[in-house]
Structures are given as structure tokens and as C-alpha cells.
């Protein structure tokens, strides 16, 4: 293998492994991916994995145990660039939807009772940027093929990824859907990162925000729009908080005064 090939590691923390599988699902391009880069570590794809220095680390999943935290800190030390891939790594995912620490502890006790994890300590699920500096974020649940390939293509050449800079609404309009918000259906399209092709709205279901918030999302406007449509504060909070994890915690905290 030539020396100048960029060294890449693909890692999975707590999640469903969907992002790693999506990479494997790039069947046509898979040979090119392995040809263009020196994939040093990719547990989902191969068994001979090397734990060394690397140029880029792609990390999927949320940090949910002490062991994962240690692993992640180690990855950061070994990698020049760290890219969070997928909603769980970017925002924490559904397991991070509990915003208060005490709520997580209560939930943990109710699920596991007194059973203890024997080889590591469980932690409240957090996105990877709660523990390390993250260079780039590739959103998605799972990540989209098109955006992944373009990101991969750019980062192995040392360029920053060029992600879609628009919300789901743009893709929704490309598909010529009727706006669900105009029909008083609580859709989160305006604040959610694009890339899914507006798949839910294409099937007449509102966007629930599973790709996480788009940078610069106007939560305030979405909040008051939904309020105007007759939805109450509790409903809107839960809606917006379900997928965005910590991506929206600040905003939800700020509108605390608005509670009925």
C-alpha cells in the first residue's frame, strides 16, 4: 500500500451501527473507498484493525459508557481530524432525548433495576462533542449515501466537507409536496438538516427532525408558528427535543419562561 494514502478509521460507539452499515451499503463505490484510502480500522467491515495514528476518524454513536469515553479520547489523540457521523454522534440521538440528568438516572433504574454493568460504568448518553473537539459533523439517521461519498471524497484530500446548507423544506419543495404546516400539521422540516430527500413528507407524514437541527435553525420562529397553530408548549418541546438531543437543549432552556 503506498505511503501517501490517507489513513482512515471508522468507529462505532452506542447506536445501531446504521452509519457503518450505510458505508458498507455503498456497494458500487466500496472498492473505490478501500482503494482511495488506507482503512486502518473498520470493525463492521474487517477483522485486522490497527490502532495507530490516522488522518481522519469517522465516529458513529453516542458516548454511553466509561469505556466508550476512554476509547473516544484515545481516538481524538490518534486522529488529525474527527468527523461525527450520524445523529447519535452529532446530537446524541434518541437515547439523549432525556434532557435532565436526574431523568436519565430514573430511567436507567427503571430499565435495569439493580443489575450492574460488570466491565464498564454506564454514562448518560451524550454526543461526542460533549467529550472531545469535533472537526466536522455529517448528520443523518442513518447518514445519506450521496452526502457521505462527497464528504469522504473531500476529507481524504484534506478538504472540509461541503454539506447541504438548507433544511428539509428545500428538498420537500423540489419534490413539489404540499406544505404540511399550511394544513396545521406539526412538521419540523424548517429546522431540520436536509439530506433525507424529505422522505416522510413525500408520504404525507410530518418531519420529526431525526437528522437533527440544521446549523442556524430558527427554532424561535418554528416554536411560535406551532404555538399559533394551537399546539401547547409541552407538545412543542417534546416534539423538538425528541431527536435533536443536546442540539436544542439550549434553546429549550431559554424558552423556559414561556411555560403556561
Amino acid at each position: 500500500m503506498p505511503k501517501d494514502k490517507p489513513k482512515i478509521g471508522i468507529f462505532e460507539l452506542t447506536g445501531c451501527a446504521g452509519d457503518a452499515l450505510l458505508i458498507l451499503d455503498c456497494e458500487k463505490e466500496l472498492k473505490d473507498i478501500f482503494h482511495a484510502a488506507d482503512i486502518q480500522s473498520f470493525v463492521m467491515a474487517k477483522s485486522d484493525n490497527i490502532d495507530g495514528k490516522m488522518d481522519v476518524a469517522l465516529v458513529e454513536g453516542s458516548v454511553s459508557t466509561e469505556k466508550e469515553k476512554k476509547e473516544l479520547l484515545d481516538i481524538r489523540k490518534r486522529a488529525e481530524v474527527v468527523v461525527a457521523i450520524g445523529t447519535c454522534a452529532c446530537f446524541g440521538g434518541i437515547q439523549a432525548a432525556f434532557l435532565e440528568g436526574s431523568e436519565w438516572e430514573k430511567n436507567y433504574k427503571e430499565v435495569y433495576g439493580k443489575t450492574k454493568m460488570t466491565h464498564t460504568k454506564p454514562l448518560q448518553s451524550k454526543p461526542i462533542n460533549a467529550h472531545i473537539k469535533v472537526d466536522f459533523y455529517l448528520p443523518g439517521c442513518p447518514i445519506g449515501k450521496e452526502q457521505f461519498l462527497s464528504t469522504f471524497n473531500r476529507i481524504i484530500r484534506g478538504n472540509p466537507p461541503e454539506l447541504y446548507r438548507f433544511p428539509v423544506c428545500v428538498e420537500c419543495k423540489w419534490n413539489e409536496n404540499d406544505c404540511l404546516l399550511n394544513k396545521d400539521i406539526p412538521c419540523l422540516g424548517p429546522v431540520t438538516a436536509a439530506g433525507c430527500g424529505a422522505i416522510c413528507i413525500n408520504h404525507n407524514l410530518p418531519c420529526v427532525g431525526c437528522w437533527g437541527p440544521i446549523p442556524g435553525a430558527n427554532f424561535t420562529s418554528e416554536y411560535y408558528l406551532l404555538k399559533e397553530k394551537g399546539f401547547d408548549d409541552d407538545f412543542i418541546r417534546k416534539r423538538m427535543g425528541n431527536f435533536s438531543g443536546t442540539g436544542i437543549a439550549d434553546f429549550l432552556g431559554k424558552i423556559k419562561g414561556e411555560k403556561r
Binding site: T14, A17, L21, M44, I94, V111, P122, V208, F243
Partner: protein, 109 residues
Amino acid sequence: MKRIKIDHLARVEGNGGVVVTIDGKAVIDVKFVINEGPRLVERLTLGKTPEEDVSIVPRICAICSISHKYAALRAMENALSVKVPPKVALFRELMHMGEMIESHSLHLT
């Protein structure tokens, strides 16, 4: 006494390891280690509306999202004694089979 320790099992969904203890020619102990962190999905739908429920459960797994949605729908229908028309049931089954084929063939890559 020999020990074989695999920290990360490759090519499986989720994180797991195996520790095998061998004495001479006999395997005397096999331990499966689950490294997966808790996601508390068991509590995921509590306090949610049925409509929220069907939109959240598919995100338990991005690749087999249909199975989760299908299970949630059936659970709620059972709870409310709702019977779906045969055509709907067939469509769902078709969708589920499609997912199974896709998911299994993915691991052949």
C-alpha cells in the same frame, strides 16, 4: 491454561467481544462480553402520543427501522383491539420482507 480474547467482534451489528478459556484440548469457559452502552429504549415511548411513538421507534435502528415501526403499530393495535384490513396487513408484510432481504444481503457485501 490458554485464553483467547477478542475485544471487538468484527462484522456484527453492535459492540461485543468474546473470551474463551482453554485447558489442554478442552474449552472450559466461553464468555460473551456485551460492550453496548445503555440506550434505554425500553422507556422510549412512555409519555409519548401514539403518533410520536410510531415516528420515534424506527430510529432505534436505522437499517431495520420498518421492523420497529411494524412492531409498535401492532402493539398499539392490539392494545386498542384494532383490526387492519387484509390489504394493509399484506402491504406491511411485503414491506417487512423487503427490509429483511435488504438487511441480509447487506451483510453479504
